[in-house]
Symmetry: C2
Subunit: 354 residues, 2 copies
């Protein structure tokens, strides 16, 4: 019998779930068995793991017996319902939904930034929001080498953040527009909200619901997850953060235009570049003379976070502009989740396999 | 014989030029004759003006005899060559290129902001860059009612900013991508630069050339044109400006995510909204409960600048985030040019027609 962990993937048939299966297959985690779980509607589908066809099962309270590790991406309500059951039965869960992110007892982890807090886990580890993750990978090396006092970020977020159904709608809209047919919108800006607008050939400055404080929930996440990841407290004030989140007609990989104040008036572009040059998970693509800068088409399908267009704010010493791109479904979701699981395994933070 | 002005449109067959013809037809300017000028390659084409078909002529030094008003959008070198000749022969020129924008003797005009400086003209008036114009229309009312100390802007700029050939390439790329064919890029990010990348389903953080100071020329324009328009001096420091310009896969209308510091810590969102509610050229689209915010698909074909998603920066009193959209070919180019010409006519700043 093969040595290794029994891993359940919850939400295995979605845009993120299918990539969790891929990323797990390519990871360093010794896997004995993979259990693919989804809604009753998706049960019976076949997915490939390391060349074997695995059948997807419907998720029930009984699904988690004997599971060592759960990777979850089936929505917040599903995580809220099932992850406590999985933990009860001895599993460690890495959750890609927002269900537990703001629970002060749940570590919110980007391995390149704060993997040491995994030691504090109580069974559930939260994966941050996609747009937060890539910003953390890009800014943490600058924070450590120079300093970080303020962040102002504008996002350019891909359609696949709304899942496979969002992607399908977006492509259909694009085809209809090019054929001079009317576009039909039923998903964007977000499933279940009152109004729907075409995303193809358009820009939608709403991601997730708009809250009473005028910020979208996506913007709220970027602000408070940043504080929790970098400072350990979702309301910490040592780094000021504000965000504007915009959905753009791109299928994969988010772009972010980030302005930062390092708080160090003498900081130089060379210092910022140097901080990023050998930073974990970062690829520096910053060569204006050769028109080298991050692009979604190049980032898609990779695990890295790409940083370029690094420029000093010419009138605010110590402040800089950056352009950051990463695959929202990989580093922003599936890969970060599997990467956290890898760290848990490496550091002996999952119960030893039976 | 009909009373009115003889108007020449230089670059009449381009994406902006064809819209100048339309906007002139819909303007309050009494037009006696329209002369359509373009390159020798485009000479002979027919364009419609108020129901009449007009033939396009090749531009020569002799084209400007008897012309009262020139509206120019045929590129900087064409403007540099021909506008001084037109002025010499008595015409007043409104130039949509960047040829004369930074000449301290040339007014750089957004009518809603600084039309009073038209009185200082010496024959040439410059139209600002598209991305600058809509930002000025949105921010000047705030500056006047509250204050303005700092601007940090990230743009989401449409393909049509690169002209009709850019638009054509973009649509072809989109078709090829959807048909799973390779995309061929020969224009974006900019015609004539060394590298070309697909724009469809991608993001390109380069508009115009990248300069030695690491900023793109588009970013440079937003910084220095803002200072010239608002403060009368391209290097004034009373308002700090920094910009990141990104081309997005949208055909028409630019989006801008703008962070401003008003310098007034007690300023409120209601004050910002009130400043914009009746501002000239502005349509406030800011109702989060009804998911109302500016979108390119809605702005396209209109002359207005749309402002929404107005939010206080929760950690910087007096600072706000805004989302601004306008049709880059109309308010960003053809309409602003014709609007300047309307002001010149209304204020008696064109020589009386013969």
């Amino acid at each position: 019998m093969q040595e290794g962990f029994t891993v359940a993937i919850l939400g295995a048939t979605g845009a993120v779930g299918t990539r969790m299966v891929q990323q797990l297959a390519q990871s360093t985690i010794p896997v004995k068995t993979v259990k693919l779980l989804a809604s009753a509607r998706s049960a019976g589908k076949l997915l490939s793991f390391k060349g074997r066809a695995l059948r997807v099962a419907a998720t029930t309270a009984e699904s988690f017996a004997g599971i060592d590790l759960v990777l979850a991406s089936a929505g917040s309500t599903v995580s809220q319902r099932f992850l406590p059951i999985a933990v009860e039965q001895g599993a460690v869960c890495v959750d890609n939904t927002s269900a537990f992110r703001m629970d002060p007892t749940v570590p919110l982890v980007v391995p390149e930034v704060n993997k040491e807090i995994l030691r504090q886990h109580h069974g559930i580890i939260a994966n941050p929001n996609c747009s937060t993750i890539q910003m953390m990978v890009a800014l943490n090396p600058i924070r450590r080498a120079i300093g970080l006092k303020q962040i102002i970020v504008s996002t350019y977020q891909a359609a696949s953040g709304a899942g496979q159904s969002g992607l399908d709608e977006f492509y259909q809209e694009a085809r209809d527009y090019l054929d001079e047919q009317p576009m039909t919108a039923e998903i964007f800006p977000i499933k279940g909200d009152h109004q729907h607008y075409p995303l193809a050939f358009n820009l939608l400055p709403q991601i997730d619901i708009l809250e009473d404080n005028l910020y979208s929930h996506e913007e709220w996440k970027m602000i408070h997850e940043t504080k929790k990841i970098m400072l350990g407290d979702m309301n910490a004030s040592d780094i000021k953060v504000t965000a504007t989140c915009v959905r753009v007609p791109v299928p994969f990989s988010h772009g972010e235009s980030i302005w930062i104040d390092t708080g160090k008036p003498d900081a130089t572009v060379d210092q910022v570049r140097q901080a990023l040059a050998n930073a974990p998970g970062v690829v520096l693509q910053d060569d204006p003379r050769h028109q080298l800068y991050p692009q979604p088409l190049n980032a898609t399908g990779t695990r890295e976070t790409y940083v370029g267009r690094i420029r000093p704010d010419l009138e605010n010493p110590g402040a800089f502009n950056l352009w950051v791109v990463a695959d929202n479904l990989l580093k922003g979701a599936a890969w970060n989740t599997v990467q956290v699981a890898e760290c848990l395994v490496t550091d002996g933070l999952v119960h030893a396999p039976a």
